[in-house]
Symmetry: C2
Subunit: 253 residues, 2 copies
C-alpha cells in the first residue's frame, strides 16, 4: 500500500509535536487500520487558506450557524480525491473506503457512536476542563498560532475571560481537578465492570475518542507530571490503562 | 412457559391504564422476549410499602444521596426469587436469566446502552418536557396518587412551582413545543439516514427507551390529538413510525 493519505495537523512545541485530541482520534484510526499516511503541519491562521487551496468544503459552521468554520483534522485521500473533515466523518469514510481494514464503527453501532460522542461531550464540556488546559495548550503552540487560538478560545469557551485569568490557583485548582474527576466518573459509570473497551474486548472508534481526550493531559503536562499520574489513577486506573493500551496506535507518521 | 413474572406498575384513568415511560420500557422488553407476565397495579403512596412487604432493595436514592428512593418499575421473578428495579437493570437481568429469548442488549453494546440512555436524558430533561406533560399526567392519575405525584414533581422538576402554573399558554405553548422538537432533533441527528432502529435493522433496548418517551405523548393527549399528530410527524415521521413499529410489544398483560 502506498502513502496516499495526508492528515493535516496543527503543530506544537511539545516533544510529540501533535497535541490536538480531535486530530489524535484520526491518527489512532489510521494506525489501527494500518493505513500508511503522512502528517502535514498547518498553523491555525493558515487552515482557511489550506481549505481554499485544496477546494475542500468546511463541515462545520461558526456560532452564527452560517459562516463556514474551517477546522482540522482534514484528511486528503489522494487515491480517491476525497477531502474529509471532522474526525467521526473521517472514521466513517475510512471504514467505507477501506473495507479490508478492521472496522472502527462496526455494523449496527453507527447511531450508538453518535450518541456516545454526544453524551461524552455533554459531560466533558465543563469549565474545569477548559480552565485546566487552554492556557497550557496556548503556551505550547508556535507563536504563529497563539494569537488565533487565544482569540477564538477566549471568545467561545471562556466567555471573554483571558486564558491566563481562567487558570485556577491554590484550593480552587484542587476543586477543579475534583470536578473533572467527577465528570470522568460519569463516563466510567457507563462501562461494564470488567470492560476494558467500550465494546468489551474489541477496540472501536468510541475508545479512540475517550483516549484522545484523556491523552491530552499526558501531552500537556508530561508523562511524569503529578497531573497525569492523577488522571491515570482515577476510577481504578481505567484512563491510564486505556491510553497505555492504545499507545501503539498513536505514532505520528 | 408459565407466568412467573410480576411487573408492578402505576395505574391511571386513561384507556391504557398504563402510562409511565419507564415502566413501558420493561413491558416492551417482556413482550419482545415473549415472556408471559402479569401486571400488578400499585398507587404511588403504596410503592414503599410494597418494597418492604416483598423485602426488595431500593436501587435509587433520594436527592440527599442517602435515603432509599422506592420506584417502579419493579419486577418480581417468582421462579428465581429475584426482585429487580430500574428499567435498564431489569432488561439486563432478563437477557442474563432468559438467554433463549432474543437479547435486547446485544453483546458488545452494554456500555453503548448506558451512554445512549445518559445522552438521551441529558437532552430530554428540559423544562419544555415537564411543562407540557406533568399537569396532564397528574390529572390522569387516580386520586390516591395525585397528592404524592404533585408534591414530588413540583419539588424535583418544577423548582417548587405548581403543576398547573407551569403549563405554558398561548404563544409560550407553541414556543415550548418548538423547544421540544429541537430536543428531539438532537436525538434524530444520531441516527444513520435510512436507519429505522438504533442498531439499523435490529430492535434493541435503546429503541424501547426512545419509543417509551415518545409514546408518552400519545398516551397523554390521545391518538387523534393535534399534539400527538405533531410529534409523530417531526423529523420525517421518525417518532410516529417507531411507536407504530413497536406497537405489537406494548400490550398490557
Amino acid at each position: 500500500m502506498t502513502t496516499s493519505l495526508t492528515l493535516y495537523d496543527i503543530p506544537s512545541t511539545l516533544p510529540s509535536k501533535a497535541w490536538s485530541p480531535n486530530i489524535y482520534k484520526v491518527r489512532y484510526v489510521l494506525n489501527y487500520k494500518g493505513l500508511p499516511h503522512r502528517t502535514e503541519w498547518v498553523e491555525f491562521p493558515h487552515i482557511e487558506g489550506l481549505y481554499k487551496r485544496l477546494g475542500a468544503q468546511a463541515s462545520a459552521t461558526k456560532p452564527d450557524g452560517v459562516a463556514p468554520h474551517y477546522t482540522l483534522p482534514l484528511l486528503h485521500d489522494h487515491s480517491t480525491g476525497a477531502l474529509v473533515s471532522d474526525s467521526a466523518a473521517i472514521a466513517r469514510y475510512l471504514d467505507r473506503t477501506y473495507p479490508e481494514t478492521p472496522s472502527v464503527i462496526p455494523k449496527g453501532t453507527d447511531t450508538f457512536h453518535y450518541a456516545f460522542n454526544d453524551g461524552l461531550l455533554s459531560h466533558f464540556r465543563v469549565a474545569a476542563l477548559w480552565r485546566l488546559t487552554l492556557a497550557k495548550t496556548n503556551s505550547s503552540l508556535n507563536p504563529a498560532s497563539q494569537e488565533y487560538y487565544r482569540r477564538t478560545r477566549e471568545a467561545s469557551l471562556l466567555g471573554g475571560q483571558r486564558l491566563e485569568d481562567a487558570v485556577p490557583k491554590g484550593e480552587e485548582r484542587e476543586k477543579e481537578w475534583a470536578n473533572l474527576e467527577e465528570v470522568f466518573g460519569k463516563v466510567d459509570a457507563w462501562y461494564g465492570k470488567g470492560d476494558r473497551y467500550v465494546m468489551g474486548d474489541v477496540v472501536s472508534y468510541a475508545d479512540f475518542t475517550v483516549s484522545a481526550w484523556v491523552m491530552w493531559f499526558r501531552t500537556l503536562f508530561g508523562e511524569d507530571s503529578e497531573e497525569w499520574k492523577g488522571v491515570s489513577r482515577w476510577h481504578g486506573g481505567r484512563w491510564g490503562a486505556l491510553v497505555k493500551d492504545l499507545e501503539k496506535y498513536e505514532t505520528v507518521l
